[in-house]
């Protein structure tokens, strides 16, 4: 029983997927999140148990749309996709073939599908035959914090010059060649996980990982219709960031070492109060951005608010207040009711000045 298992309690660890692995980069400085993710703890269930359920959810309309667009792109042996790849990747052969890896004689077991994926890709890479093949429903594997994670990219395309491209299908629109930069960034981070896993597969099979291109093919609806369009997305920087985050995971011991022995975040055996105390022993690094990306955000926000932390006002505000950690301190330095420590002399002087001219101007 490892320390992480103790931390999690009797529940089974959550499965990682590409999205959650990509999310590791969202707030690396937060020890609380790092621990919860490393231990595979269900953050949504934990937040709910603590009394702060996360307001996340997906609209059924969005889900339907994503599914139907995916189906459209892959219909008829990926007809649309082939057309796009010819245009975007210069897949200049008259025929391209389609291989559905999930068609393993009725046996959809992960391990079986992964083994078949490895075999087919290796054959394509060594023989050079089957160029122009689209591999549908491939299953990759990646070791994350000691666990093996199965990852399913949309498509892997094998191109005539011997390179392999990950294809990502997303249902947000590209309008006049532009798309929402936040959604593109998320897609880039997610596909980087697939590229990373595919390169790891190649390396383990004795193949050159650089044969997996850092250019991902992003397929999206064009303008306002359902018609797909493809854009190449260079994910080198996302790959570098991912590499850093994965190696950071191995340093989780540093955080574990500072915890009281036997501490657990388990919500099945502990009351909300007990669980809350346990979670609070690990520092969080709250920023308002957490509200959009982490299920624990409301809990951590309440914590920041209760302690009067300047974090609740956002990173920029905290920075402008010269790194002062608490709002009462900042205001106390400003009106002189709190005396400044040697490190606070400068920010205190600035805050006194700020208070003076603000009060004058408001009067």
């Amino acid at each position: 029983m490892t320390r992480l298992d103790t931390l999690r309690g009797p529940a089974a660890p959550l499965d990682h997927n590409a999205r959650t692995i990509a999310a590791l980069a969202v707030n690396p400085g937060c020890d609380r999140r790092a621990l919860l993710d490393a231990a595979g703890i269900d953050k949504q269930k934990t937040a709910t148990h603590l009394g702060y359920p996360a307001p996340f959810g997906q609209s059924p309309f969005a889900i339907t749309r994503a599914k139907s667009f995916d189906a459209l792109v892959k219909a008829n042996g990926c007809a649309h996709l082939l057309r796009l790849l010819r245009h975007t990747l210069g897949l200049s052969i008259s025929e391209a073939s389609y291989s559905d890896i999930s068609d393993v004689g009725g046996n959809d077991n992960h391990q079986v599908r992964h083994t078949r994926t490895r075999a087919l890709l290796k054959r394509a890479a060594t023989d050079g035959e089957g160029a122009g093949t689209l591999f549908d429903h491939p299953l990759l594997k990646l070791g994350v914090a000691g666990h093996q994670v199965y990852l399913e990219p949309a498509i892997i395309a094998f191109q005539i010059e011997g390179r392999f491209h990950v294809v990502e299908i997303k249902s947000f629109a590209v309008i006049d060649d532009q798309a929402d930069a936040g959604q593109v960034a998320a897609a880039a981070r997610q596909s980087a996980v697939y590229v990373y896993a595919l390169r790891a597969l190649f390396a383990s099979e004795g193949l050159d990982p650089d044969r997996v291109s850092h250019d991902v093919v992003l397929v999206c609806p064009k303008d306002f219709a359902n018609h797909p369009t493809a854009t190449l997305l260079d994910v080198r920087q996302q790959l570098a960031a991912l590499d850093r985050q994965l190696s950071r995971l191995t340093r989780i011991d540093r955080i574990l070492d500072e915890l009281p022995v036997g501490i657990t975040f388990d919500i099945e055996t502990q009351s909300p109060d007990e669980a809350s105390k346990a979670v609070s022993t690990v520092d969080a690094r709250f920023a308002p951005e957490c509200l959009a990306s982490c299920e624990m955000a409301l809990f951590c926000r309440a914590e920041a608010r209760d302690s009067g932390s300047t974090d609740m006002l956002g990173r920029t505000a905290r920075d402008e207040l010269g790194g002062v950690e608490s709002i009462p301190t900042a205001l106390g330095l400003a009106d002189g009711s709190r005396s400044a420590s040697p490190e606070q002399t400068e920010i205190a002087e600035q805050l006194r000045y700020v208070r003076r001219i603000y009060t004058e101007a408001v009067a």
Binding site: P55, G57, Q58, S59, P60, F61, A62, I63, T64, R65, A66, S171, F172, A173, I175, D176, D177, P221, D223, F224, A225, N226, H227, P288, E289, L291, A292, R305, G308, T310, M312, L313, G314, T316, A317, R318, E320, L321, G322, I327, P328, A330, L331, A334, Q350, L351, Y353, V354, R355, I357, Y358, E360, A361, V362
Partner: protein, 486 residues
Amino acid sequence: MSVISAYARALAVQTGRAQPVATVRHVHLSATPMVFIPLKLAGEAAAPLAALVGTDPANPRLLVVPQPRNRDLRFAFMAELADVMLPYVESFAGVTETVEAKTPYERSSDAPQLLVPNRGGIAFTKLLGRSTRFRRADGPYPVHPSVPVLGQWLTFLAERAEYAGSSALVAMTEVLALHWATGQSPMEDANLATQLAWIAPPAGQNGPEAALAAEDPLTSPPAGPETHPDFDGQVLDHAIRAYETSNSPAQVREALRTQLEPTWTLMWQAVRLLRELPEAATVDARWAKDRDQFTRETARLADGGFPRGRIDGAVSAAIRLADLESALQTYEAQRAFDDPLVMTEHRVAGKAFSGEVVAVDATRRIVPPGKTRAAPRPLVTIRTSDPVRLSPGKRLSSSRNRKQKTEIVSIARDLVVIQINDQMGRGSTPAPGSVPEVGEIVCYAELDPSGGQRPRLPSGEDTPWTHGGPPAPYVPTDEDAQEAWS
């Protein structure tokens, strides 16, 4: 954010109420603004779902697309929206005034103003304009003729919104943030309900309590254009199915009305709050620019103007960038000179200072560089306690005469010496009042309200090879009109 607004937020936390970051209203508020609250279908690029729109707080008009995936129903929605918006927009075209200029011209005395809840509302307005302005009333995929006209106007308004200081299309959360600092983060301020809760909490509650309550989607549904996923899954889905079986939109309409009405109330509450603030001195001048643009667009459309192209050519992009920069520079300067509370941000940054005049040499004359004859160049010495971070030679504008150009001669501890370079009349000595007097409180800033000069650029047809050569001229085609909307 500056340390001033960070401090104001900290104060808000302490007092439990939002604190002012402006003493006057920097945005024009029409006598009859039109509030527009659009909702869109999740997962789609620009599929309208519903909208609440109108100029009378007591009479909102509810528009709904009962099956949002149905193309015909979508265009019917847009036609209905046109039915509400076009008369409003066009009502301003008739009344004009004559503008005194080198060549006098006619300008609309007033112009439409559209108020949306947040930045997403502006983006969605832009998308609605984009998806409809290329349609045609004839040809293979006809729509009601008012639809492309509405598309052109929505596009016009969305483009105006890119210019700092424009009030034609305004996001309420942004305008409120210009005037009040809440005790939450700027990111949370994008939620109109919580932002207003801090600014004007209901009786018996303070800001944080009201804001927390306002996060409950059951009492404060999202202001859009996104709907709440729980609403989608638990209510909307069923309502749309009900429409499909019964063919009556009543259930969908009722469901969407419940999502829109609370925001409608908030919008008009915000309008009232803003009206309570006195208008800043230069708001009128900026609104005049909006009216100029409105007049031009009215004339252009009356002349049968084509819809604006999808992307900017190299030259129009460069012109637009210069105009955006000019508008921003002017707006930042004017806001600060109009409002001492806004000026504090520049003072804290060391780019402006305020103080008392302790000495004036009004009769000083020198031969300015590059000239041959001596001219008046008075020196003014100001004592200030502001942390001035400017260096000699820096050009400044003054709050007592924004057109007057001055420059820094020297800074030594708390004394700043500036030289006045113009706006002193034509005489050999400065005209009375053109130079400050000892004892006066003055403010100088490294801000230029004039907006700078637009650079000389070639015409579009002369786009040079460096920038890809001249773009093909735009001619609307059937393809544009048939651009699918599914």
